[in-house]
Symmetry: C2
Subunit: 413 residues, 2 copies
């Protein structure tokens, strides 16, 4: 099938998926999770092909690790699917309803978006995760995974299709673009006639390509240049604990902190202790004032303040007051997650009000920006744009709304 | 100033506008309304220049009418601004807040989007309307009006700037792109670094150009191929009254009905009366079955069913049941407004559930799809896309959200 044919099939299928009952959707997701586990052998052998090709092509160890499946990882994927099945079904909820003076009763109801496209890189778990989130919300999904995971993705999609067929539900609820060419992605991004939403999941290059070329509405996910601001009135022990957690608990993720902003009045006391804590573990790229209190630091360039290291590296900036801290953060951040450590009520409120990001924290680690940690039960990604959804996106982000209007003969005068 | 300089200035201004108090915003909008009325003479003389140029260029009478201002129209524009000032300020509302097991308290708060760009055609009232809606919601706005209204728009923007300056508020809260070239629009649409949202208001060509070329997230507004479905169980008098209102009360608007779908069992009774009602007023483009009951109809082509006439014309399609009606509507509609006329509870519910459009009605005219009629007090446009906002967009559509998280030292394990 060509990309256009795939998109048209998704479009023709969308009302079938949208009208499934909650029971049909939940049972199918649970059955698909079991089927996936039953097929462990064939999925692992497909994954071995991908791994072999990856090794031959000199794929980096970190990427190989993301690509690699095991019996245990397939069990985890299946558990994730069962968790999605157990969430409440948001489709059909009428969030408000009111009566107009002319007697019209207007309600706003949650409905599936329709057809959702997802372009992602070499993480085969995304294939099953995204399917269950989209199916749960009554959406038809078109997947386009990276070439490195091609065999694994096809094995997973095969399993999903056979689960759908066995249940007598529309197999076109999930479609997969096998064509690995750049042209295929280019065509996909222009299919706004058939596709309602496109979500790129992957590195900055992929996301930029989609934002620049898609005619389908896009939700940007991803990059996080997150800051911890240690205010003049911070509890130093708490500041050390949170900075350490936000920087080092997991370095390769978008909600890890990349930059530290420190009030100059607390710097003489805080920075030497941080220097001690991070010694041999985290390299610090700091401005002049901060370097006076740091052992083994590097001089920060302007680029350092804008960098998402995803590594044991952190930039350090001193400021003379909270206003300077807020402007620094609003200038360099990517609108993801920022935290102030303070015991000042006024500064906490000011930071919450004035910092421009999806998630703004007082006295907590930025690592909590996550659908599960927020209590959404599952997550399709973290939006760093301001339209439709901002921050961790749960099931609600995969829904649109429609107005339903009950009349009894009203005409407009 | 180049387009890029204008966008950068808006970006640098955005937090100034976002932090204004409700009182500052409301007072300014009222003062700007008064100033506009005070400047009636100079605005009308600028408008005369545009009108003269329009006549010389052979502008169509309908467009000249939209372009033309008068003392009374300026009063109406000022009244519209005062109405926006009188609406509740939605900025800062925390729509939900919950506590996590680890003690984190998470709230979702409404915040301004930031910088909003609006590209529009020759309607000078849009300049003042859009400014007051964006300013009320704490957004900085960049306007790019059509060349036909260039002098009028500049006179209005001058007035707004002097009101802002007189109040000591940031004049860059509204910026205007004077460059009338196509290149200027092209550059504007790529300024995603500075601009958060782009709204095109105008014809299908303008909207298509923006959707295809913008790297800024876009909200599509506009085209409406709206249907009235007269069900087998319709009250025929009501069906006639609503069809007449939806088609003829105002023909040039997006919520006017363009297509009639009729159950074949009611066609023999309903269509002759419609034929009589529309005689000499509305031309009907109908399928074979319908034409048997119509005097003076034309044969409908497939194109007719997809056409937004914006004229005294209407397509007519007969169907054998409600399922066929719903598939016909979902195939040809533009996702705007659709109405069923019926006394069947089951068919009413089915239509509300299965028709895919921003606004779905039972027993009412599609002409009610409008921010004022919905009780929003004002409207920036009617979204026909599914992301962010769908249907009439009031102040809420100009807001984003951010999560504010209160902790007391939480770190992620």
């Amino acid at each position: 099938m060509t990309v256009e044919e795939i998109c048209r099939r998704a479009y023709e299928n969308k009302y079938l998926t949208a009208r499934l009952t909650t029971d049909q959707k939940n049972s199918l997701i649970c059955a698909a999770a079991c089927d996936l586990v039953k097929r462990t052998d064939s999925i692992l052998s497909a994954n071995q092909e991908d791994m072999k090709r990856g090794r031959e092509n000199g794929m980096a160890p970190g990427l190989l690790d993301r690509l690699c499946l095991s019996e245990q990882r397939i069990e985890q994927i299946a558990d994730g699917m069962r968790q999605v099945a157990s969430l409440p079904d948001p489709v059909g909820e009428v969030t408000k309803m009111w009566k107009r003076p002319n007697g019209l009763v207007i309600g706003q109801k949650k409905v599936p978006i329709g057809v959702i496209g997802v372009i992602y890189e070499a993480r085969p778990n995304v294939t099953a995760d995204v399917f269950s989130l989209c199916f749960k919300t009554g959406n038809t999904v078109i997947l386009r995974g990276g070439s490195a995971a091609a065999s694994t993705n096809l094995a997973i999609v095969d399993s999903l299709h056979s689960s759908l067929e066995a249940a007598g539900l529309p197999a076109d609820s999930v479609l997969y673009i096998e064509d690995l060419s750049h042209e295929a992605v280019g065509t996909f991004m222009k299919m706004d006639r058939y596709v309602d939403l496109l979500i790129p999941r992957g590195g900055a290059g992929l996301i930029r390509n989609v934002v620049e070329n898609s005619t389908i509405p896009v939700i940007e996910t991803g990059t996080g240049n997150c800051h911890i601001y240690v205010d003049q009135y911070a509890d130093i022990d708490m500041a050390l604990r949170i900075t350490d957690n936000a920087k080092t608990q997991r370095i390769g993720v978008c909600n890890a902190a990349e930059s530290l902003v420190v009030h100059e009045k607390i710097a003489p006391e805080f920075l030497p202790r941080l220097s001690e804590l991070f010694k041999g573990r985290v390299s610090l790229f700091a401005d002049q004032k901060a370097r006076k209190y740091l052992v083994d630091s590097y001089e920060a360039t302007d680029q350092d303040f804008g960098r998402e290291y995803l590594d044991y590296k952190m930039s350090v900036k001193t400021v003379k007051d909270i206003d300077q801290a807020i402007s620094h953060i609003n200038h360099y951040n990517t609108g993801h997650s920022e935290s102030i450590i303070t015991d000042s009520y006024e500064n906490a409120q000011k930071f919450l009000d004035e910092v421009d990001a999806a998630c703004v924290y007082v006295n907590a680690s930025t690592r909590f920006t996550d659908g599960n940690e927020f209590g959404f039960g599952a997550e399709i990604g973290i939006s760093t744009q301001k339209l439709h959804a901002r921050g961790p996106m749960g099931l609600d982000a995969l829904l649109s709304s429609k107005y339903i209007i009950y009349g009894n003969g009203q005409i407009r005068e």
